[in-house]
Amino acid sequence: MRLAPFRILLGLFCLLVAVWLVMPTLVIIPMSFNEKKSLAFPPSGFSWQWYENFFTNPDWLTSFFNSLRVAGLVAVAATLIGTLAALGLSRMKHSGAGLLRAILITPMIVPGVVLAIGIYAVYLDYHLVGTTTGFVIAHTMLAIPFVIIAVSASLEVFDVRLETAAASLGADRFTAFRTVTLPLIAPGILSGLLFAFVTSFDEIIVALFITSPYLKTLPVQIFTSITRDADPTVTAVGTIIFIATTLVISAGLIISSKSTRS
C-alpha cells in the first residue's frame, strides 16, 4: 500500500476540481431567495420576490417566451437539416466527406464576435435585425454542427447491412429508412434536437448584436440586467433554468432506462 498517500492526494485534488466545476451553478440557488437587492454572499433573510418579479415583469416574461419560440424553431430546423447532412456524410465514400464534414462544423470554432459583426452587417442590409427570422437563421447555422456530431455518432454504430436486409425483403429505400434506420438512430437525433435547442436558448454573442428593443432573447435580457444594475432576478431565472434542465434530464434518463429494460 505504498500508493495510499498518492491516492489520497489524487482524490483531494479531484474533489477540489469537482467543487470548482459545480460551485457556480449551486451558488445561484441560495442567492435567488435573497431579501435584499444585492449580490453579496451570504444572502440575508428569505423571500420569493425575485421569482415574483420574473413572473410579473413583462420584460422578463417576454424575453423568456421569445427565447422559447426561437429555440423551438431552431431545434426543428437544425435537427432536420443536420440529420440530412449527417446521413449524406455517412453515405459518402470518397475523401470529400472528411472535408465537407470539417466545413460543416466550422461554426463551432469561428470566434463568436467576428461572426456576430458579420451577421450584424448583413442583417442591417437585409432588414433582419430584431426579427425572429434573423434569429432563427443565425442560431440554426450555429446549432447544425451539434446535430451533425450527435447523429453521426449514432450512425457510426449503425449496421448498414440492416438496411440492405430490409431492401432484400422488399422494402423500398424510404420504407427501409423509416422502419429500420430511423428508429435505430432516434437517440442520436433526439440528443441533436436537445443540443440545438440549448445552443439557441443559451446563445448570447450573436444575439447581443442582432437584438432590438422589440425582440430580446432571455440571455440578452440577463446580460443587460447584469451590466445595468445588480438585479437578483437573474439568480431566480438561473435557478428556474437549472431545475427545469434537471427535470428534463431525469425524465430522459428514466425513459431511456425503461425502454432498454423492456
Binding site: A18, V110, V113, D202, I226, I249
Partner: protein
C-alpha cells in the same frame, strides 16, 4: 470519380433542387449522390457564415477607403498589440490550468467504479445545466471582494485577494467554462489505454513514476493535444466572461472588436481586428491538425 467532381461542383453553381423530380427517379439520384443530402446545411452555412465573414473581410480592406490602412493602424497602435498579446497569453494560461486540472480528474474517472464515475461525469455536466451568462454572474458573486473565495481566504487569516476585474479572475472563470472540453477528450483517450502495458513495465522493474512517464503519459498525449487545442482556440474568441469578470487591464480582442463596431461604428478597424482573430484561429488549427493526426498514428501503432 464522377462523385468527386460532383461534390466539388455542388458547392458552387449547381445547387439545383431535386424536388421537381418525382418518384423512383428522385430516390435514385439521392442514392447516387449522397452529398446532395448535405446541401441544405452547406447552403445555410454559406449564407449565414460565409457571406457575413466575407463582408467583414471586405470592409476591413475597404472602409473608409481601399487599402491596408486598417491593418497598418492595428499593428502600429501599441494598445492593440498589447491586447492581442494579452489575448494569447490569457488563452495559454487557461489551457495550462485546464490541462493541470483535467489530467488527474480524467484519470480518476477511468480508475473508479461505475457509481463514482457517474458522480464525476455529473460534476462535469452540471455546469452546462445553467445558462452561460448566469454562470458568469455566479463567478462575479464568487470572486468579488466580499465573495465566498475571499471569505475562505480571510478565514485563514490572510489578506483579501483582488480577483474580480483582474486577469486571474478572468482565467479562473474561463477555465471553469472550458474544463469540460478538456476532460471529455482526455477521458475518451485514457479509457482506451491498455493498463496491462503499465503493469508489464512495472513487472519488468520500472518504478511507478517511470512506468507513468514512459508508458502512460505518451499514450494519453493525443487526448491532451486534442483538448488543449480546443480550449486554446475557444479561449481566443471569448467575449462574455472577460467582459463581465475583467477590468480595463484584462480586455481581450473580442471586446475591442465589439467596441469598434458598436460604439465607434468603425467597421473597417473592427473588421481588421476580427480578421486578425479569425486568421489566428485557423492558422493554429492548421498547425495543430497534422500534429494531432501524427500523435494518433503513433498511439495506435504502439
Amino acid at each position: 470519380m464522377s462523385q468527386t467532381s460532383h461534390t466539388l461542383a455542388a458547392g458552387g453553381d449547381n445547387p439545383r433542387p431535386t424536388g421537381g423530380v418525382q418518384g423512383p427517379q428522385r430516390r435514385l439520384r439521392l442514392a447516387a449522390y449522397p452529398s446532395l443530402l448535405a446541401m441544405p446545411a452547406l447552403l445555410l452555412l454559406i449564407a449565414a457564415m460565409g457571406y457575413p465573414l466575407l463582408t467583414v473581410t471586405l470592409r476591413s480592406f475597404s472602409d473608409p477607403a481601399w487599402g491596408m490602412q486598417n491593418y497598418v493602424w492595428f499593428f502600429s497602435t501599441p494598445v492593440n498589440v498589447t491586447v492581442l498579446w494579452r489575448t494569447f497569453s490569457i488563452a495559454a494560461w487557461v489551457t495550462i490550468v485546464c490541462v493541470i486540472a483535467a489530467y488527474p480528474y480524467a484519470y480518476l474517472m477511468t480508475a473508479v467504479g461505475p457509481r463514482m464515475r457517474l458522480v464525476l461525469i455529473l460534476c462535469v455536466l452540471v455546469p452546462f445545466w445553467v445558462s452561460g451568462v448566469v454562470r458568469t454572474l455566479a463567478w462575479v458573486i464568487l470572486l468579488q471582494d466580499s465573495g465566498i473565495i475571499n471569505s475562505v481566504v480571510r478565514l485563514f487569516g490572510l489578506d483579501t485577494v483582488k480577483l474580480i476585474r483582474t486577469q486571474t479572475g478572468v482565467v479562473i472563470g474561463m477555465a471553469q467554462v472550458l474544463l469540460p472540453f478538456m476532460i471529455l477528450p482526455l477521458y475518451s483517450v485514457m479509457r482506451g489505454i491498455d493498463l496491462r502495458l503499465v503493469q508489464a513495465a512495472r513487472s519488468l522493474g520500472a518504478r511507478p513514476s517511470l512506468a507513468f512517464l514512459q508508458i502512460y503519459l505518451p499514450l494519453s498525449l493525443p487526448g491532451v493535444f486534442a483538448g488543449a487545442i480546443i480550449v486554446f482556440i475557444l479561449s481566443l474568441g471569448f467575449y462574455i466572461t472577460p467582459a463581465l469578470l475583467g477590468g480595463p487591464r484584462s480586455t481581450m480582442l473580442s471586446t475591442l472588436v465589439q467596441s469598434q463596431v458598436l460604439s465607434l461604428l468603425n467597421w473597417g478597424r473592427g473588421g481588421a481586428m476580427g480578421v486578425v482573430l479569425l486568421v489566428a484561429t485557423f492558422v493554429l488549427l492548421a498547425l495543430a491538425a497534422p500534429l494531432m493526426r501524427q500523435r494518433h498514428k503513433q498511439a495506435s501503432r504502439s
